[in-house]
């Protein structure tokens, strides 16, 4: 972290000097980002407001729904219950870092191919949880998929097509 790097305005800093802040460096979707944050700022809010990565959604604030799931050093975590300062020095991947503009991740392709989404709100978190599963287990069973996604809630699909979507991606990646 150097003084010459651009510092992100998190958009959540209060007026006045009374509240302490801390400078953190987080690698987000492969890009090194420096931010001046309040210690209480949630990682989800740093991503959404500070970095304008609005694909990470906030659903429940009790770590149940998983809409805010991101990858933290490759593991799925819920960014609504992690402080931004805890991510200092770590790598975070959001849905915006999944696949490239020209080439989708197989998980993204699978969700579209198998109708694994409806309103789309849970989808980024679901896809990142699925990505983490396939990274550690490239050949999952249906039960493996259901267990791996059991920290993420969907109210639209009934999960059956989400499971098919993940298995579709596993199948594609095995080719």
């Amino acid at each position: 972290m150097t003084a010459t790097e651009p510092v992100v305005d998190t958009g959540t800093e209060p007026a006045g000097d009374a509240v302490p802040t801390r400078r953190i460096t987080v690698t987000v979707n492969g890009e090194r980002r420096v931010a001046e944050v309040e210690p209480r700022l949630l990682l989800a809010h740093l991503l959404r407001q500070g970095l304008a990565l609005t694909g990470t959604h906030v659903g429940c604030d009790t770590t149940n729904c998983g809409a805010c799931t991101v990858l933290y050093d490759g593991a799925p975590i819920k960014s609504c219950t992690m402080l931004a300062v805890q991510a200092d020095g770590h790598e975070v991947t959001t849905v915006e870092g999944l696949g490239t503009p020209s080439e989708l991740d197989p998980v993204q392709e699978g969700f579209a191919a198998e109708h694994g989404l409806q309103c789309g709100f849970c989808t980024p978190g679901m896809m990142l949880a699925a990505r983490a599963l396939l990274d550690r287990n490239p050949d999952p069973t249906e039960d493996d998929v259901r267990w791996a996604l059991s920290g993420n809630l969907c109210r639209c699909t009934g999960y059956q097509n989400i499971v098919k979507a993940v298995l579709w991606a596993a199948e594609k990646e095995s080719r």
Partner: protein
């Protein structure tokens, strides 16, 4: 360009170009899988401020004082708004969609836990939250009421002392049917079957909570509100009435909506506060509710009590039904439902059975609970109607000692009886009920299962099978009978075909995941032969889309979908004139096949719809108005009546009360399917909500009025791990009055599903040795402790509040 060189060309392949019956991939997915959706919380405007709401910790209390001084003192706070301040703008109260009033910010007392008391606007949401915590409210507690029995007890505290002339806790009384005829039928019954139960309070709980960004421009006087709404056009009218702003200066935008299920139909205090705060601060104000706020204050569903009787002949014919339904409305009567029907369309129950006569009475009560009674994934209380019906059917079959499938067979309406007038006045349009039931029984292997069940019982294992068959009324209006706040229930569509044959369709419906951008294009493709990929569908912006009543009660395809078909036909009628001009024949000699007009008797002479579009802008006949566009308002002649047969098999563990779904078969007849993939997605989603309600998902209150189920730690929703797999089957009976033969479907599974699970568990419990048929009812959700208690004692289990905490 008037003559094609090809041999007699033929109609396009409709499925290939994305018309009816094509499971075309969803247009919406491209943005959602990249995280590029645009939900309300993603909207950021220059200079935007943030609003948070302070909620009541008590269920019933008089407000003695509110001290906001410490909140104002926090740096970054721009506004602290109380009910007293809102009252100066005549905004402390607002009308509900059921002709009641609801507090925006409490002035006199709080009437439920979680009620809005004050709000704070600040530079960021964290400061706004801090400031809410700094507000000091002094309450004088009053006795809380948490169920209708308490509400109706003599001497009960009056909850709505704000309403002139209100002397008790009754919100409404209503009845329908033929009392004298029903009483006469009961007098000659061989058997009278009775059932009492409680359908628990449940919250639709979309993963996205409610929220708004209100932007009042004090230079132009225009108010723009980005809002999580299923019905933006109704909201515009409501805001005009509530906030006394001119309607043409209000623009409501519903961007992507993260699920609705009925929760995002009403106008909530948070929206009104955000609008008022934007007017007062002259800045854009964003309000994003948290999950507790959503669960504790916004529209719930159900919370209805049934007290029922069926008059039966010994050989299994239904002579009459009668029941009394009591609803717990919470503190304000805020159902979102058609005006004439005080308990929604609960009288659609028994529409699929040949029942000569019936009588329903209903009463609503005020309690110290959150207001609502919204159509949670159903067509206005239809979920309760069909659950009551199918639980009563099972109880009656048990009382008669007749097999549950056979009992249904003896009473289902036959194919040759349509259109069929139900005992409560509906006219069902079409169906093949017996075929659907038989398909379901065959799919589950009904006879084999009964053998397996008997074998299992010998080993001490409890297997059960439950059936639920139902038709439901989807697609309100017609406008003669259906209105909300006086606004008739119809829908509109506008279609514009550009010179190159690409098109834009604008509709008044509002998707929350149903895939309208995909399926409504398919309807136009079916009518005009323009490939679906050449049609963009726009919705959700009241400045740029035609009026519509919104998306709930499965009404989009039946009403707005019909409007889309009708406007496409108007456009085709003009294109035909252009074709005649291009082909140099009279209009009467022009024939249509998908995608082209041709000369009768000379099929090779034809022009495509795209060529007609170009001619509308470049080569129209003398005297013809240029352009190729139109609009259509569609007022449906009747509701559409899909049918479903759901069958569940379960195994109950009598030692723990835990039950598992072994198989689930669904047979849905929703008429013509526009996009089979999307229809099946809707059905599986509905079956999962049905499973949730039967198994774990409910809200209740303790005796002090504390909400149980106010966050996801104790409002349990099934994950991928618990949710069973589903086997789907279809029957197609086109609706005779819908332009493309479609019927609503989005809610059938959530409506009809719960009874299948519950009937299956109760069927399993009838296998307990020594207690055949002993347990008549367990209230949902069938939690392990309730099932265990019933299995051990043979007693019914009530789930009605108050929730016992010992």
């Amino acid at each position: 360009m008037t003559q094609t060189a090809e041999p007699a060309s033929r109609a396009l392949d409709e499925v290939k170009i994305g018309g009816l019956g094509s499971s075309r991939p969803r247009v919406e997915d491209a943005r959602f899988i990249r995280g590029r959706g645009n939900y309300v919380e993603d909207v950021t405007l220059p200079g935007m401020l943030h609003m948070e709401i302070l909620r009541s910790p008590l269920a019933h209390a008089r407000i003695k004082s509110i001290d906001t001084s410490a909140a104002w003192a926090i740096p970054g706070v721009k506004l602290v708004l109380t009910g007293e301040m809102a009252a100066q703008r005549n905004l402390a109260w607002m009308p509900t969609l059921s002709y009641d009033t609801q507090a925006v910010l409490a002035t006199d007392k709080v009437r439920f836990q979680g009620q809005e008391v004050a709000c704070v606007v600040a530079e960021d949401p964290y400061i706004a939250k801090d400031a809410c915590d700094a507000i000091v409210v002094e309450y004088e507690p009053l006795p809380p009421i948490v169920n209708p029995e308490q509400a109706l007890a003599p001497g009960a505290p009056l909850i709505r002392d704000d309403k002139a002339g209100q002397t008790d806790n009754v919100a409404y009384s209503w009845e329908v049917g033929d009392k004298a005829g029903t009483d006469a039928a009961f007098a000659r019954a061989d058997v009278v079957s009775t059932l009492r139960l409680h359908y628990p309070r449940s919250h639709p709980s979309p993963i996205e909570n409610c929220g708004a960004v209100a932007d009042f421009n004090n230079a132009t006087g225009k108010l723009t509100v980005y809002m999580t709404s299923q019905a933006p056009h109704i909201v515009r009218a409501a805001v005009a009435l509530i906030a006394e702003l001119p309607e043409h200066m209000i623009r409501i935008i519903s961007p992507d909506v993260g699920g609705g299920f009925g929760n995002k139909v009403p106008v909530y205090p948070g929206y009104v506060c955000a609008i008022l705060c934007s007017i007062l601060t002259a800045k854009p104000v964003k309000w994003i509710e948290d999950k507790s706020g959503n669960l504790s204050s916004t529209g719930f569903g159900r919370d209805m009590y049934l007290d029922s009787e069926m008059a039966l002949t010994r050989d299994g014919k239904i002579l009459a039904v009668r029941y009394h339904a009591t609803t717990d409305q919470g503190a304000f009567y805020a159902d979102a439902q058609p005006t004439k029907f005080k308990i929604g369309l609960v009288h659609s129950s028994f529409a699929c059975y040949d029942v000569p006569v019936g009588h329903i009475t209903a009463q609503g009560t005020y309690t110290n609970k959150a207001p609502g009674g919204v159509a949670y994934r159903c067509s206005f209380r239809v979920t309760e109607a069909m659950f009551f019906q199918e639980r009563m059917m099972q109880a009656a079959a048990d009382d008669l000692g007749i097999d549950q499938a056979e009992f249904r067979r003896r009473n289902l309406v036959r194919d040759d009886q349509f259109p069929y007038r139900t005992p409560f006045g509906f006219l069902t349009d079409s169906g093949q009920y017996h075929k659907c039931l038989q398909l379901g029984l065959d799919a589950i292997g009904y006879d084999d299962f009964l053998v397996e069940q008997a074998e299992a019982r010998k080993q001490g294992r409890l297997l059960g099978i439950g059936i639920s068959t139902m038709t439901e009324p989807l697609g309100a209006g017609n406008s003669r009978e259906y209105d909300i706040l006086g606004i008739k229930m119809f829908d509109a569509a506008e279609l514009r075909v550009h010179p190159t044959g690409k098109a834009v369709l604008k509709i008044g419906a509002q998707t929350q995941g149903q895939g309208h951008e995909t399926t409504f294009a398919q309807i136009v493709t079916h009518e005009l032969g323009i490939p679906a990929t050449d049609i963009v569908v726009e919705h959700g912006d009241t400045d740029h889309t035609p009026f519509g009543m919104g998306t709930y009660a499965s009404r989009s395809t039946p009403v707005a979908g019909a409007a889309a078909a009708m406007v496409a036909r108007k456009v085709r009628a003009k294109a035909r004139k252009l074709a005649a001009h291009l082909l140099e024949v009279s209009e009467e000699d022009v024939e249509w096949e998908l995608g082209r007009f041709y000369v009768r008797g000379a099929e090779s002479r034809g022009v495509t719809i795209q060529e007609c579009a170009m001619a509308a802008y470049s080569n129209m006949p003398d005297g013809m108005e240029p352009g190729l566009e139109n609009n259509a308002y569609y007022d449906p002649p009747n509701l559409t009546w899909p049918f479903a047969c759901y069958i569940a098999t379960v195994e109950v563990d009598p030692e723990t009360g835990v039950w598992d779904v072994l198989r689930f078969v669904a047979v849905d007849d929703c008429g013509v399917r526009i996009n089979p993939m999307i229809v099946e997605g809707q059905i599986m989603g509905g079956l999962t909500e049905a499973y949730a309600m039967s198994n774990m998902q409910f809200q209740t209150y303790d005796a002090d009025g504390n909400l149980v189920g106010g966050n996801y730690m104790d409002y349990l929703l099934p994950t991928a791990w618990e949710t069973p797999g589903f086997e789907l089957h279809e029957v197609v009976t086109p609706s005779p009055h819908h332009p493309i033969g479609a019927k609503g479907v989005g809610e059938c599974a959530a409506v009809g599903g719960p009874a299948a699970y519950v009937n299956a568990v109760l069927n399993a419990l009838s296998q307990v040795p020594g207690r055949p048929g002993g347990v008549r009812n367990i209230d949902m959700p069938l939690l392990p402790d309730r099932v265990w208690h019933a299995a051990q004692t043979g007693d019914d289990v009530s789930g009605a509040p108050p929730f016992r905490t010992e």
